[in-house]
Symmetry: C2
Subunit: 343 residues, 2 copies
C-alpha cells in the first residue's frame, strides 16, 4: 500500500472534514461534500469519494482517525446547508432515520434515547425539585422531551443557534421534536454565548449543554469563559451537565474540560458515561458540575425517576435511564481514572 | 437504490459470511473470501468486493445487518485457513494489531484488555479463593493472562480447538500469549464438548467460555447440553461466565441463552456488560451462572481484585476492571430489563 497516496493535495483525495477548515463557498464543493458522506449506499463519518485510481477510500475524521462506523442508507431525505452547517437526514436500513451535521452523526431513531435520557436525567435526578432549566443546543428537541418528564420543572429555556435543525427535526423526527410542544418550553434561536451573558445571575437550577463536537463553532462551548457564564447563571448548588466525548478516544480533551470545570465550579465535578452504539467507540461521556452551595453528590439520584409521577410522558417511559444506570454511569475503567488525572 | 441488487445470486454480490454456510473448498474462493474483508486499505466485518457494476459495497453480517465498523489497515501480517476457520492478522493504523477469525474481529491490541479482564474477573472475583479454572476457547491467551493474576488459582485448564490461533497469538500477540507461560496452565487442543464430558464431576470452581459468535462451529456452545456438561464439571456454588453478545443487537439470543441457563443452573443467573469499542455496537455481554450450593451474588465482588497481591502481574495491572466497574456491569438499561424477560 503506497502511503504517499495520503499526501495528495488534489481535492478528491482530501477528506471532507479537512476541506471544511478552508474558506470555501462554491455550491459545487458543498454538494461534493454532502455526497461524499454517502458512497455506494453507505454513510460513514467521513468517507470521501475514491481517489484518482479509484481504489482507496477515505473515512478519516481527525477526532477518530483510522476507524469508521458505517450505516446502510435506504434513502436520503434531506440535505441542505444552513447558515452554520450542513444538515443531512437519511433513512437507514436498520437504525431508522439519521440526523447528520457537518458529516458527523448526531442521532439515530434507534438509539437516540440513551443519549437524551442520560444527559437530561443525570443532572435533574441529582437535585431535588429542579424548577428552571436551560438547554444549550439540542435543537432536535430530544433533551426537551426528557426534561419535560420532570413535573417540578416550571421553565425550560432552550438556546439553539440553527433554525434549520429545529425545522428538520419537526419534519423528520416527530418523536424528538415533541419536546418543543411542552408549554413550559421557551425557544431562543441565537448564539449561546450571547444568550447566556444576559441571563440574570442564579436563574437556573440546571443547565444542559447538548452541543456538537468541539471543532468549529462549538469550540467555545468547552472553554473557560463559557463555563464561567454558566456558573453565574446557576443558583448556588445548581448543576451543569455537558456532553463530554468518548473516554476511549478523547481523554486529553476530557482532561482539559474537567480541569477548566474544576477551576470554575466550586462544588463537585464528576465524569459519567453511557453506551450509545452509533457514537464513535460506542460510548458518550458527560461532565457534571455543581456550583458552591448545597452539596451535590451526582452519584446518588436523590430525585429518583422511578418516583416521578410525570416520568411516563405521552405514554412513553424512559428506555435507557433508571436509578441503577445512574449510579453505574460514574464507575470508570481503571485506564480512565489513570489518564484523566483530575478525576 | 434498487433493492433487487441485494437478491443477486452471483457470488461476487454475496457477503462472505453467507458463502461460509455452503459446502465449498476451492482455494480460489477462500482467497477471495479473505481478501474481501480488506478492501481499499480498510477492514470491515464483512465487506465483500463490489458488485458487477462496481458501485455497491456490502458490509452485511447477519449478526448486525445494515452497519459496519471499519479499521484502516497498515499491513496484512498473516492470512491462512486452519482446519476450522480463516485466520487473519493485520496491523491497523490506530488500533495496533488485529486478530480476525472467519471475517469477525476477535480483538485489537488497543482495547482487548476490557474484554479479557471482564470475562475473567467478573466470575473469579465473585467467589472466594478460586482454585481450579477451565477456559473454553480463548486460544489467544488473553483470558489466561487475567486468570493468572489470581494467586489462589492452582490449575488453569484451557481447551482450544484450533492450534493455529495459539500459534498466531504467540507470534503476533505476545502480550496476550504471555498467558500460556504460567506454569499452572495446561493446554488441551481439542473440541470443548469432547473435553468437558470427560471432566470429573465437580472439578472446577469456575469455567470461562471465551467462544466466537454462535454461528457455525460455536453454535453448540450456547445450547443446553453444553451448559449441562459445564454445570456437572463445576463444584457446588461454582461459577460459569459465558460471552453473551450485545444487549443492543441480540436480545433474542440473550433471552434464549439466559432461559437455557436458568433451567440448568440452580444458583444465580445474571447478565453483565462492558464497553469494548471494536465489538459491534461497542458493547459485549456476559452471562454469569452459579450451581446449587453456597449462594453467589455476582453483583458483589467478595474477592476484590484490589486486595489480590498477585493482581499486578508482569508489571502490568488491570486497565479496565476494578470493583466499581464490577458492580456497575450489572446495571442494565430499561429496554434490556424489558426485552430480556427472564432477567
Amino acid at each position: 500500500m503506497d502511503q504517499n497516496e495520503n499526501n495528495e493535495t488534489d481535492q478528491t483525495t482530501i477528506p471532507p472534514c479537512c476541506l471544511k477548515a478552508r474558506a470555501y463557498s462554491p455550491d459545487a464543493e458543498l454538494e461534493a461534500n454532502v455526497h461524499a458522506t454517502v458512497v455506494s449506499g453507505w454513510f460513514s463519518e467521513h468517507q470521501s469519494s475514491s481517489d484518482k485510481v479509484g481504489k482507496r477510500m477515505y473515512f478519516n475524521n481527525p477526532m477518530w482517525p483510522g476507524e469508521a462506523h458505517s450505516l446502510e442508507v435506504e434513502k436520503i431525505l434531506f440535505k441542505e446547508r444552513s447558515k452554520y452547517q450542513e444538515v443531512l437526514v437519511f433513512e437507514s436500513a436498520t437504525y431508522g432515520k439519521v440526523l447528520v451535521l457537518d458529516g458527523i452523526l448526531q442521532l439515530t431513531e434507534r438509539d437516540e434515547f440513551a443519549y437524551q435520557e442520560m444527559i437530561a436525567h443525570l443532572p435533574l435526578c441529582s437535585i431535588k425539585s429542579p424548577k428552571n432549566v436551560l438547554v444549550v443546543g439540542g435543537g432536535d428537541g430530544g433533551v426537551l422531551r426528557e426534561v419535560a418528564r420532570h413535573t417540578s420543572v416550571e421553565l425550560i429555556d432552550i438556546c439553539e443557534i440553527d433554525q434549520m435543525v429545529i425545522d428538520v427535526s419537526k419534519k423528520f423526527f416527530p418523536e424528538l421534536a415533541v419536546g418543543f410542544e411542552d408549554p413550559r418550553v421557551h425557544l431562543h434561536v441565537q448564539d449561546a454565548l450571547e444568550f447566556i451573558k444576559n441571563v440574570p445571575k442564579g436563574k437556573y437550577d440546571a443547565v444542559i449543554v447538548d452541543s456538537s463536537d468541539p471543532v468549529g463553532p462549538a469550540q467555545e462551548l468547552v472553554e473557560r469563559p463559557f463555563f464561567e457564564m454558566i456558573a453565574s447563571a446557576l443558583r448556588p448548588g445548581g448543576v451543569l451537565c455537558n456532553m463530554a466525548e468518548s473516554m476511549w478516544l478523547h481523554t486529553h480533551l476530557i482532561n482539559d474540560m474537567i480541569s477548566a470545570c474544576r477551576d470554575v465550579f466550586k462544588g463537585s465535578v464528576r465524569y459519567a458515561w453511557a453506551s450509545v452504539p452509533t457514537y464513535p467507540s460506542g460510548v458518550i461521556g458527560f461532565i457534571l458540575c455543581s456550583t458552591e452551595g448545597p452539596p451535590v453528590d451526582f452519584r446518588v439520584p436523590v430525585n429518583p425517576i422511578e418516583s416521578l409521577e410525570g416520568a411516563i410522558k405521552n405514554q412513553s417511559e424512559p428506555r435507557f435511564y433508571n436509578s441503577q444506570i445512574h449510579r453505574a454511569a460514574f464507575a470508570l475503567p481503571s485506564f480512565v481514572r489513570k489518564q484523566v488525572s483530575c478525576l
